[in-house]
Amino acid sequence: MADPMTHDVRFAGLGGQGVVLAGLVLGHAAVLDGLYASGASSYGAQARGSVALAEVRLSDEPIDYPHVEDADLLVALSQEGYEACRDRLREGGLVLYDLGLVKTADDGPRQQGYDVAAVARDELDSAQVANVVWVGVAAAATGWIGDDALREAVRLRVPERFLELNLRALEKGLELGRCGVKTKDGGDASATRC
């Protein structure tokens, strides 16, 4: 039973990829945009190297059950994250995945690849901010949250000294997400160009 105006998002990556912050920014942005949101994270025993998940529910109405069960949107930042979560998607759910790091199954659900890790490394000079790029991609690709709310959420959640870099990462993600990418059906396989 899916509530009509609820979106369930799951970020899945490895510890160290900043998945938790991504979930926080998304959830906080939703609230700034006037929505209800709930968020929970889990990680494995190792600070680096085991699967980390950040789950966010977004809704027009107060949320009764705050955990994500099957997601509407899976954002896979690593192969392990993809493997761990690909079966926990609703019918019609969408997978956004990193073209450079994740190999998806051929008969998988609706999916779109983005070369986020490479973009972060090459265009932002920081592999670390791929997580915030993903927030922008996810928001723009779905249209669920407004850009200004996202920018404000980054301001509130990121330490001062990294703020400028993260804001740029967000803009990059919004740009990528708006352009859309090649679905599995066709078109060129390279990273997006708009």
Partner: protein, 381 residues
């Protein structure tokens, strides 16, 4: 004097925060101006936040060398006149028991937030548990009552922390927020208020601080430095605080009054919610995070035509058996899902007038999924 409405001193409005963050802000809102604590997963964020918030609100903060030092300092600060608290988890709560008994016996107002994790012992430090229900009530030796609330949301981590302070100050008793890792680390939107209703301890100069003419009374609460020449002691004492360790009547009177003063006020202390119980043949009894799962399961079951309802306990101690008895007057069964092996189920059984009570205990470090409760409902009906 009794309740007053005061500005919270923390930002009001639509906030996105974790349960632990909400609890810390609620403490400030309630007027807490002293925290002593020790780090322990999954409660440490409460302390981290108050280490910053308290100095900003002219309060005092100290990280003590261990949990025993922490609860001791909290008790000392309360007698100096401050609304005082600490936060911990199972292992720390165990260490604090002697001093909690001292706080009960000396009628020292204080608040303890227990963010429960999977136990016993060190257990699974980062995983959720719900096994401390009995610990807050029976963890120390002797016969006594405490107040304990079980929040089910980030919003309740805020509101029930305020209520815990009110109960502690009004009844001169330790009050617990029996939270869980699942709520402590959960982020939710909270619409925080700009004002809260708070109770400040009653000081009636010249009245004995440790007894009342009433058999269920709460004495005046003085503090150090008022010229009262206080005699605070954990030994059995008379109304003025003199040790009376040979007198059977004094001991009996004191022990009974400390119990009665809480039990006589169940009407105002007992908070609970009922959902769809009027036509229910099965009532799911839940509290804390589990109640979020239970409500979802109940709604799903009702959508499929099952006559199921829910009773959610907000107050766990004193245990409000009366509402169970009221529901059990009709022909119903009870299902009690918990993240322990039936601590509240046993209490429900005792109050259920012989109705069938099924305990659904889960102790695997995870929250109970709505599907598990739904499956149990379908199994029964």
């Amino acid at each position: 004097m009794p309740y007053s409405t005061i500005p919270t001193g923390v930002p009001a409005g639509q906030r996105y925060m974790s349960g632990n963050e909400a609890a810390a802000e609620a403490a400030i809102a309630a007027g807490c101006r002293f925290y002593a604590g020790y780090p322990i997963t999954p409660s440490s964020e409460i302390m981290d936040n108050l280490s910053r918030l308290l100095p900003a609100h002219d309060g005092a903060f100290i990280q003590m060398e261990d949990e025993i030092g922490s609860i001791s300092a909290v008790a000392g600060a309360s007698w100096s006149g401050a609304k005082a608290m600490t936060a911990t988890s199972g292992p720390g709560l165990s260490l604090m028991q002697e001093c909690l008994g001292y706080a009960v016996f000396t009628e020292t107002p204080l608040v303890v937030i227990d963010v429960q994790r999977a136990g016993p012992s060190t257990g699974q430090a980062t995983k959720v548990g719900g096994g401390d229900v009995m610990t807050v009530k029976y963890g120390s030796h002797g016969d006594y009552q405490v107040v304990a609330f079980a929040p089910w949301s980030v919003a309740e981590m805020f509101s029930l922390t305020v209520e815990a302070f009110n109960a502690a100050e009004k009844l001169r008793v330790p009050a617990f927020v029996l939270a869980e890792e699942a709520t402590g680390h959960l982020f939710e939107r909270v619409d925080t208020p700009s004002e809260v209703r708070v109770y400040d301890r009653d000081y009636r100069p010249g009245e004995p601080p440790f007894d009342t003419p009433e058999l269920d009374g709460v004495p005046s609460m003085p503090r150090f430095g008022q010229g009262e020449n206080l005699l605070v002691t954990g030994s059995t004492h008379n109304g003025l605080g003199f040790r009376k360790v040979e007198d059977p009547e004094v001991h009996d009177r004191l022990v009974r009054r400390l119990n009665r003063k809480v039990l006589a006020r169940k009407d105002e202390l007992c908070r609970y919610e009922t959902h769809f119980v009027d036509d229910a043949k099965l009532v799911v009894v839940a509290y804390g995070f589990t109640a979020r799962s239970a409500l979802r399961a109940v709604k799903l079951a009702r959508a499929a035509g099952s006559p199921v309802g829910m009773l959610r306990f907000v107050t766990l101690w004193p245990f409000c058996r009366e509402i169970v008895e009221e529901i059990a007057a009709r022909d119903v069964q009870f299902l009690v899902p918990e993240m322990n092996l039936g601590q509240v189920a046993d209490l429900v059984q005792a109050a259920s007038l012989g109705r069938r009570v099924e305990a659904l205990g889960q102790v695997n470090g995870k929250t109970i999924a709505p599907a598990s409760i739904l499956q149990a409902i379908e199994g029964i009906l």
